[in-house]
């Protein structure tokens, strides 16, 4: 069997979950013996090169581009894993769900103490994604197979999940692996 193919993406998120993946440290060298990375922010592969075994999703869905990305992940990946609170429940960015989007945009682009906006225009170019009213968890948009909780999940948890996946052995998750702050 060839290497297991893995793709990752960061949508409406902070990249912290990707950082936690890197926090597996030296085990990264073992990991790259077992897996091959496809589309991911850490490499230069922008489009899927073909079917992929595991897709790891960081971040919720807040704009039309996220929507496209997540659908293409579902299409190309055999299994999808939501990593972190943003993907699982929208996380901190979903705090904006309690406020009308218009107010958020006005604060950022019209009212802020340093804003210079003589035309009073809020960014709207077709080259930037269109925002959705609310931030959605990934599994409300596509089917998700597994969830790794935490903000971010500790590296040990990530390693436990990846090795369980790659070896097919039952997963062991001691309390420290899922403990949050």
């Amino acid at each position: 069997m060839g290497k297991v193919k893995v793709a990752t993406t960061a949508m409406t998120s902070c990249f912290g979950c990707h950082m936690s993946i890197l926090d597996i440290d030296e085990r990264l060298l073992d990991l790259i013996e077992l897996v091959e990375f496809d589309k991911s922010p850490i490499d230069d592969i922008k489009e899927f090169t073909g079917p992929v075994d595991v897709g790891i999703i960081e971040g919720g869905v807040s704009n039309d581009e996220n929507l496209e990305v997540i659908r293409s992940f579902r299409k190309h990946c055999k299994i999808l894993i939501s990593i972190g609170e943003c993907a699982i429940e929208g996380g901190i960015p979903a705090m904006r769900n309690a406020v009308p989007l218009k107010e958020c945009l006005e604060e950022a682009y019209l009212k802020g103490p340093t804003v210079y906006n003589p035309k009073g225009r809020i960014p709207d170019d077709p080259d930037i994604p269109m925002l959705m009213n609310k931030v959605y968890p990934v599994h409300e948009v596509v089917k998700v197979d597994y969830f790794m909780p935490g903000c971010p999940p500790p590296a040990d948890q990530i390693w436990a999940v990846l090795t369980a996946l790659l070896t097919g052995k039952p997963i062991e998750l001691p309390y420290e692996f899922i403990k949050k702050d």
């Binding site: 902070c14 990249f15 490499d43 945009l105 225009r121 369980a164 097919g168 997963i171 899922i178 403990k179």
Partner: protein
């Protein structure tokens, strides 16, 4: 114009990868195939500016840091510094300030190592034109395993410093209004001390590696994307390089001061941000120069360019050598960012070492109590006469403990502490449910 529009071609690079953030590049070509317009779009909007409003102020250090998981400490500390002001603590205890400084140095150390080795080095080590399939840290790992091992361990070290000071590698919880909630225990200190010598050595090695690349390919390195710009950063009151706190300084490309020693809380007096329709990121500029000419560089290059000196001997020597690149002006080569970043990496290692030997880190004064600031001075804030009126009403200007303000702070502080205690109690509860493990399936 409309005729060229129809024949216009557009190149899109999306997402921009191997960077810290969410970006996209569009390049429009005219009918002759020449670049007509090139834009870098920030494609992410989250709304922190608004949804942070109305929350408890002591939540800010943990909410705001979720802006970025690569440099969370910087945002954690910026927010904590703002809350220090809110609770009226102007001077942290030495233990709190040094813990925060150490945390931040761990941050710059890990983030700079990540940036250079994990993200940028594939271009240098494998070549700008290498196959995109291998032009990444894994490609480097397969070709230069020792170098990548070193990079991983350097980043790990920075993350361990963060964990020891912030409680967690990504999104810690240690900086709180008025101080810090932990000190550096002796075992933590000793653990970190073990490897700092190695880290220093590797920082020097990384810097030398980059310098070799730079000099071997000097034309490309000093010419690629080189352009004059203003530079903005913070510096200490005496012009010393500082990463945690200081005043704003801006210089132009030649090194002439635009402004200096502007208090950081007064940033809005010297900086504005222009809104453009095609990016969710605003475009900051120096107010006095206007949106066309006022834009500026920030980050390692600006910081190293702007400061008068670094109080870390090895890094200071490197800084002096680096500044010669500018031949009397500031260094305005974009590729020199790598160089400046690695000088900061070395600076961070030296300063971490210094702090690990500082007994204050084991101190026990973690949080300072708020001090009532008194009412605003009459001559600055209020029309003549109002002070007298307020005195009649029972307010004494500049008094420490009298008046509604002090009572308010006294009421608020204990409540904040209660909340912390509550949170801690919650955290200690065992997880509700932890059923038996089950196999995960790959198909």
């Amino acid at each position: 114009m409309s005729a060229t529009k129809t024949k216009e071609r557009k190149i899109v690079i999306s997402p921009v990868t191997r960077v810290e953030g969410h970006g996209k590049v569009t390049i429009r070509l005219d009918e002759k195939g020449k670049v007509d317009q090139a834009r870098f779009h920030i494609v992410e909007f989250r709304g922190f500016e608004r949804f942070a409003q109305g929350r408890f102020y002591w939540e800010m250090p943990v909410i705001i840091q979720r802006l970025c998981g690569i440099c969370p400490v910087s945002h954690h500390l910026a927010a904590a510094k703002a809350t220090d002001l809110i609770v009226g603590v102007d001077q942290l205890s030495p233990t709190a300030e040094k813990m925060r400084r150490l945390m931040h140095l761990g941050q710059t150390f890990q983030s700079h190592a990540l940036h250079f080795f994990h993200l940028a080095s594939p271009d240098l080590l494998l070549g700008f034109d290498a196959d995109p399939k291998i032009r990444n840290v894994i490609g480097v790992a397969l070709k230069h395993p020792d170098l990548v091992k070193m990079a991983i361990l350097m980043r790990k070290y920075g993350q361990e410093v963060i964990k020891a000071t912030a409680g967690k590698k990504v999104h810690g919880t240690a900086a709180i209004p008025g101080g810090i909630n932990k000190n550096l225990s002796v075992p933590e200190r000793d653990e970190l001390k073990k490897d700092i010598g190695q880290m220093l050595e590797w920082s020097v090695a990384g810097l030398n590696l980059l310098k070799k690349f730079y000099h071997d390919d000097i034309k490309r390195m000093s010419g690629f994307a080189a352009f004059d710009s203003n530079h903005l950063s913070i510096v200490a009151p005496d012009g010393r390089f500082d990463l945690y706190d200081g005043n704003l300084r801006a210089k132009d490309a030649a090194g002439k001061l635009i402004f200096d020693q502007v208090k950081n809380a007064d940033y809005y007096k010297v900086i504005q941000e222009e809104v453009r329709s095609w990016s969710y990121m605003k475009f900051p500029f120096i107010k006095s120069l206007g949106p066309e000419k006022g834009w500026y560089r920030v980050g390692p290059l600006a910081r190293v360019n702007n400061c008068d000196y670094m109080d870390a001997p090895l890094a200071e020597k490197e800084r002096q050598e680096f500044m010669k690149l500018g031949e009397g002006r500031l260094v305005n080569a974009t590729m020199a960012y790598h160089w400046a970043r690695l000088i900061e990496l070395l600076y961070s290692a030296e300063k971490i070492q210094e702090l690990l030997n500082d007994k204050d880190l084991q101190g026990t004064e973690l949080v300072r109590e708020a001090r009532h600031r008194g009412h605003p001075r009459r001559d600055q804030q209020e029309p003549v006469g109002s002070g007298a009126r307020r005195a009649q009403e029972g307010h004494r200007p500049d008094a420490g403990v009298v008046g509604g303000g002090a009572q308010l702070i006294e009421e608020v502080l204990p409540r904040r502490h209660q909340a912390h205690v509550r949170l801690r109690r919650l955290r200690l509860q065992p997880p509700l449910h932890r059923g038996p493990g089950r196999p995960l399936r790959l198909v």
